[in-house]
Every structure is written in C-alpha cells, then in structure tokens.
C-alpha cells in the first residue's frame, strides 16, 4: 500500500494491544465530544482509578519544563472514551489497573495505589510492563497519545497542549512559506 500510509495503518492495526482501542466498535465517537470540555467530574472512573491512570499516563508523557499528559487532561479523555466510543474497553482498562497496582505493590510493599509511589518506583513499574510487553503498557501508551493529540472536543489535548508539544497547528488554511526549506529555496 502506498497512499494511505502503511505506517499509519500498522499503527492502527498492528501496535499490539493498543489496537484494542482502535478496533472499538466506535459508532458514537462524536458523543464523546459533546460531553467534553466541561470535565468537572468523571463519568466512569472512580477517584482511585483516575488518580492511577493520571499518574501512569504522566509517566508516558511527563511534565517537565513543558506540560505533559496531566496538563493535557488525558485522564478526562480516557473517562469520556470509556463512557462513549470505547465502552467495551472498560473491562480491559480495569484489569490493566489491577496489574498496575500489583506491580506497584511489588515495588513498595503494601502499596495500594500506583499514584502514591515515588517517581522512580512509578518508572520502574512502567518499565517492567514494557519489558514484559504487557498489553496494558501498549494501551496506556495509545490512550496517552490519543488523549494528547486528538481534537480537544474529546476532553484531552486541553488548551491544545498536545498539539503544541509536537508543533502541529490545526488551521484550515496555510500559505507559503510552509517551512524553512521552501522559504530558503
């Protein structure tokens, strides 16, 4: 295949368990956007789930001198998605969170939450899941990236944080020069 980018397709269909999100029977993605932008409370996630998901996605795209997943409100994107187009993914997210906590308890005896771990231990947990190619690692990664880079109507990418991160601007018209090389050709 050439034109519909092969890589794009592989990203959608072949990226391990990340694909669980992309193969969702998503007839009502748009419903997610209708609810979005006024994220005051969670529709699906419990407080504890939201805290752990926020901490975990913030390890995928951390906050440093620039905003990360937390500031992009990725966790709200996930909540909206689970309430709407990714309804059928609720169970896999729940079991993923269970795994996350199990691994958290291995790092710090008796720990009941991932979010409560110190930063280095959180990193160790995510690294262990990556190493084992655990499907929740891929799901976390996809949810974070989709939550950062999808249209803000879905509840993430707050203030276009994700688009600013990568340098994308969703304008509806552009003119020359588009970049450095056509300006300096």
């Amino acid at each position: 295949m050439t034109d519909v980018s092969r890589r794009a397709f592989l990203a959608a269909a072949g990226a391990g368990a990340a694909a669980i999100w992309l193969t969702a029977e998503s007839r009502d993605v748009i419903a997610a956007s209708r609810h979005a932008m006024q994220a005051t409370r969670f529709q699906v996630l419990s407080g504890a789930d939201a805290a752990d998901l926020e901490a975990a996605t913030s390890q995928i795209v951390p906050t440093d001198d620039t905003p990360g997943a937390r500031e992009a409100r990725v966790v709200y994107f996930i909540d909206r998605a689970l309430a709407t187009f990714a309804k059928d993914q609720k169970k896999s997210v729940e079991s993923g969170l269970k795994e996350l906590r199990k691994r958290a308890a291995k790092q710090v005896r008796g720990a009941k939450s991932f979010a409560a771990l110190p930063n280095d231990k959180q990193i160790a947990v995510i690294a262990s899941m990556e190493k084992d190619k655990h499907e929740f690692f891929f799901a976390l990664r996809y949810m974070t990236i989709a939550g950062m880079l999808s249209n803000p109507e879905y509840g993430g990418n707050y203030n276009k944080t994700g688009w600013k991160w990568i340098g994308f601007d969703d304008r509806f018209s552009w003119a020359t020069p588009f970049g450095w090389y056509d300006r300096n050709a």
Binding site: T2, A8, A15, A24, E25, R27, V29, F172, G179
Partner: protein, 562 residues
C-alpha cells in the same frame, strides 16, 4: 464551535438527483459504484441522453460531513469500508490457509475513494502500455501489452485534466499531451524544495507533481486552502477534484441520472440468453431490490468488481459472470514501493499543504543492467496526522515513553519526512481476489478472499527504490535516515488488474472498449481493467479509461450495438 473548526464561508450545496426511476423501469444503464470510474461513466452516459441509475453502497456525504478529526475518521472508518461489516480473508499463496484480516481499503460513499485520496494524478507513459514487448516478459508473470496505446488514451487524459481539474506543469519526462494543463501547479512545500535540491545533486530532473486539486478558482470550486488534510479525509472546501464534486454533479445536472446511495449490489442478473437484465441490491434497510436495466456497467473497484462477478454465477455462468476465461479476479496488482525516511535540521512542516508537490521520474525506466522489470517515481511527503505519527512513524529504536520520548517527538514532528518510491508491481496469475468459501459479510454475501505475494522481481525493485530514496534524502541534507526492509504486501488501497483488458477472450475479461467478452451488455470500468500497474498512481488512468469507455458505450448504445 471549537476554535480549531474552520471558518470558511459555507459552500452552496451540490444538487442531489431530481430524477427518480422505479426499479421496474428498465433504465438504459445501471452503474454499480460512484467513484472515480463510475462517476465518469455516469456523467458521460447521462450527458449523451441515456437514463442512468448509479448504485452506491455508501452514503451521499457533503462537505459538512468532512471533519479535521483524526480519531473519528480513522477509528470509525468514517469514509471507507469497515472490516466489521465487510470482513475479508487473506493468504499469501493458494497453499496457505486464509485468515480473517483487513486487506483492502476503499471509499464507501458517493465519490468513492476519490473523496479521501491524496489526488496524485500521474498519467501513464507510453512504456506502461507496451512494457512486455519493449522490455521483455518476466517468467512467472502475465506481463503483456495493453490492447490500446498511450496515443489512443491521450485525448481522454486531456479530458480528465480539464473536466475533473488537474493542476500541473509539463515535466522533462512527460508523454505527449494535446492540450496544456488547465491550471498551474501548487507551490513547492519544504518537502518539494528538499526533493528538488536532492534530485539536482544526483543529476536528476525534478518537476511539479500533477495533482487533482485545484490551484485556482476552477469551475466554481475555490482554490486549495493547503489545510493539509487530504489523505484519508474529505475536502471541506471542494478543492480536491473528487468524483463527488466534479462528474457526479455534472451527471445529476443532466436530469437523466439518479444516484442512489446506501444501495449495495450483490448480484448482476442475467436471462436465459445470457444477457444482463439488471442488478439485485440491498437498500439501507437491507431490503432486496431488483433494478432493471438494458445494460450494466460495473465500476465497483478492483476488489469488489471481481467479487460481484464471481457472486453473479448462474446455470449459464457457473464460474461467475463474464468468467469463461477463468481470469476474473486474477492478476491482482497493488503498486509497490520502496520507502525511506529522514529527519532534517530545520522545520519542514510537512503536515501543512497537499501531500506531494514535486516528483522525480528519472528512474521511471531502469538501466537494463540491473536486470529488474518495471520502474518508478519518487516524491517526498509527510502525510501523518498527529496520532498516527507518534504511534507509528518515529525513527527506529526511539524511546516510546518518558522524558526522552517526549523530547524526541518535540524535535521530530516538524522535521521528519518520507521518501516514497512508487513502483510497478507485476501481474501474477495466482495473486487474486476470489470468494471465501465460508466467510460472509453482514448482508450474507460471500466475502473477499485475497491471495497475494509480491513477485521476487518486485521485492528487489522495492529494495532498490528504498535504497535510491535514502540516497535522495541524504543528498537533500537529511541528518538522519532509515528505511524498513520491504515485506511482501498484504494490504492495499490500489486494487488493480482483476478483470484485465485484452483482445483474446481466453486470456482477458474485457475487450479494448471495456465490454466483457462474454456478455454483450455488461461492461467493467475501473482499476480492474488495468493490464499493467503503472508507476504507482493509477487513478488518472482509471478516469481516462472511464471517459473512453463512456464515449464508446454511448456510441454502441446509439448504434444499437449493445
């Protein structure tokens, strides 16, 4: 309204069909499919005064349905076939077990794939029609000459340029043209400027890419706004010259053509004399309807057309309709390619603007010493929407999470691009679309089984183009380059060759006028008629063939030769 929603003035809605035919009316033509080919055929036949019903399996969308929404567009198969309702199976060879796996992607809706395609509009060159006799055949393939030449098709290429709307400028390797382009090419983006710089260093001659996207006000359609959402998306400003906004409105304006959306054809019906009598289709409520017609033109694309013919078997046609040769579904071609990638020092911003602005055709035909059949052309492009890019296009061995990942993405999205080496792919008889013996779609119709393995020549060809492409990127100044090893393809959007054109009814499905050899009033017009694959961009040729077929079919009908 979210603040990133566009603020273009609303477009005047395009008129939908005013004429309505009843299924029991025997119309002159029923056209199956409303895409690049079906739209042209409908326009040509209705303009000639014939009563035409176009049956399109998907909905009739307008610009309001097209959104800059990556999640929705990809996640929901918003504009395309979806693999849940329309699954298929795939196997590499006839010996393998076929497993369910998405293998074809095409536009589902009025306008077909031309709604969401990139709009690269290369003409074929003379050599594409006679490669076998000029360069020689290749063992294990069905590489043969076309029954027509470039010169015979040229007037219709020109018709496409002017009626559909193609922007471009003559290049050093252009085949002869009878009329200039109707409008100037699009400005070079940084991807185009880099391709030009790299190509000149290698002694090659880059030139502006011909694109079916209008570069100025043309036939009431406004110039491209360079928004960057071409590939995979519908055009919100009507600048992309899709069938939806060009030939379909022209067909509808005749008052003779009814385009019926949400109408999924499952069978071409024939009578005891072996003539087509119409088609059976499901409407939006899955009610079966029998539309009668004096003649049928199938324009359903290179995968769905052979499937429909094979599903139309009867006592008289036990191997499927128009398949006395046994060639229906065979010689499936995709176009292949060699892909390489590069990261540059400064901002490329490839996400802005149309997909490709400059081309290199210096390897369209290869040095015979290489011992490779075929050839190709290059463009530099960056057509990744944000999520797809970060999920699937970062340099190899990149970190995938954490601070280093975050930094990398920050410095790469605007500086990365790909070199696409678009190539031929050889016609191989065992590469095919057939019916899966057990899998059915959501309507209970036997599903597609694809069998496909790239020919060894093509695997080498893809590698050659990936290697040359990487050199091109380096010559352009890329500070980092990489390429993936080519793999045999198992998925395509270019669906070609499965009802090949030829003079001999024993070895081809349609004659040089796109009439099936077996059924006098059945025509097949789309990518399936292609005898060879061209160098990667087939739609221009599909539309030229459709204009030519429409012209000829109208002539046959007027002379009562159908």
């Amino acid at each position: 309204m979210p603040d990133h929603t566009h603020d273009h003035p609303p477009l005047t809605p395009l008129q939908q069909s005013t004429v309505k035919y009843r299924p029991e009316d025997e119309v002159d033509f029923v056209v199956v499919g409303s895409g690049a080919a079906g739209g042209v055929v409908a326009k040509e036949l209705s303009t000639a005064g014939f009563r035409v019903v176009v049956l399109e399996q998907g909905p009739w969308r307008t610009e309001k349905d097209f959104v800059h929404d990556e999640l929705k567009t990809w996640n929901e198969n918003l504009l395309t076939n979806n693999w849940k309702d329309s699954p298929n199976t795939f196997r590499k060879t006839e010996k393998d077990k076929a497993n369910v796996k998405p293998s074809v992607l095409y536009g589902r809706g009025v306008g077909g794939t031309s709604v969401h395609f990139s709009a690269n509009f290369w003409r074929f060159r003379e050599i594409d029609f006679k490669e076998a006799s000029v360069k020689g055949t290749v063992p294990g393939t069905g590489l043969v000459d076309w029954p027509i030449t470039y010169q015979e098709l040229e007037p219709y290429y020109t018709k496409v340029d002017w009626e559909v709307g193609v922007a471009g400028a003559p290049g050093p390797y252009d085949p002869p043209r009878s009329r200039p382009y109707p409008m100037p090419p699009h400005p070079a983006k940084s991807t185009g400027a880099l391709l030009e710089a790299g190509a000149k260093k290698l002694g090659w001659k880059p030139f502006p890419a011909p694109m079916a996207i209008v570069s100025k006000l043309y036939q009431g359609r406004s110039a491209c706004a360079q928004c960057g959402f071409c590939l995979g998306f519908g055009c919100e400003v009507r600048a992309k010259s899709s069938a939806l906004v060009t030939v379909i409105p022209a067909a509808v304006a005749t008052g003779k053509c009814e385009v019926r959306p949400n109408s999924y054809v499952r069978k071409v019906e024939t009578d005891a004399k072996g003539r087509a009598t119409g088609v059976k289709y499901f409407d939006a409520n899955k009610q079966e309807i029998y539309q009668r017609a004096k003649a049928v033109v199938v324009c359903a694309n290179g995968a769905e057309t052979p499937r429909l013919l094979l599903n139309s078997k009867s006592n008289l046609f036990p191997n499927g309709l128009a398949n006395s040769s046994g060639v229906v579904g065979k010689y499936l071609m995709f176009n292949g390619g060699g892909y390489s990638n590069g990261v540059f020092e400064h901002e490329v911003n490839g996400y802005k603007g149309i997909v490709a602005t400059r081309l290199v055709w210096d390897l369209y035909e290869l040095d015979p010493k290489l011992g490779l059949s075929g050839g190709g052309g290059f463009d530099f492009r960056f057509a990744d929407t944000p999520i797809n890019f970060v999920m699937g296009s970062l340099p190899p061995d990149s970190p995938t999470w954490g601070s280093a990942f975050k930094k990398l993405v920050e410095n790469t999205y605007n500086r990365q691009l790909s070199c696409y080496g678009h190539t031929t792919s050889l016609p191989v008889a065992t590469n095919s679309i057939s019916l899966d013996p057990s899998l059915k779609d959501a309507w209970g119709v036997p599903a597609i089984r694809m069998t496909y393995q790239d020919h060894p020549n093509d695997m080498k060809l893809y590698q050659y183009f990936a290697d040359r492409g990487e050199e091109l990127l380096k010559a352009a100044g890329a500070k980092q380059t990489w390429k993936a090893k080519p793999e045999s393809q198992d998925f395509s959007v270019h669906l070609l060759g499965t009802c090949r054109m030829g003079n001999d009814p024993k070895t081809s499905v349609v004659d040089k006028y796109n009439r099936t050899h077996d059924v006098k009033n059945l025509f097949v017009v789309d990518g399936s008629s292609l005898v060879t694959s061209g160098r990667g961009q087939p739609t221009m040729t599909i539309q030229a063939l459709a204009f030519r077929a429409g012209d000829n079919i109208a002539g046959f009908a007027k002379r009562r030769e159908i």
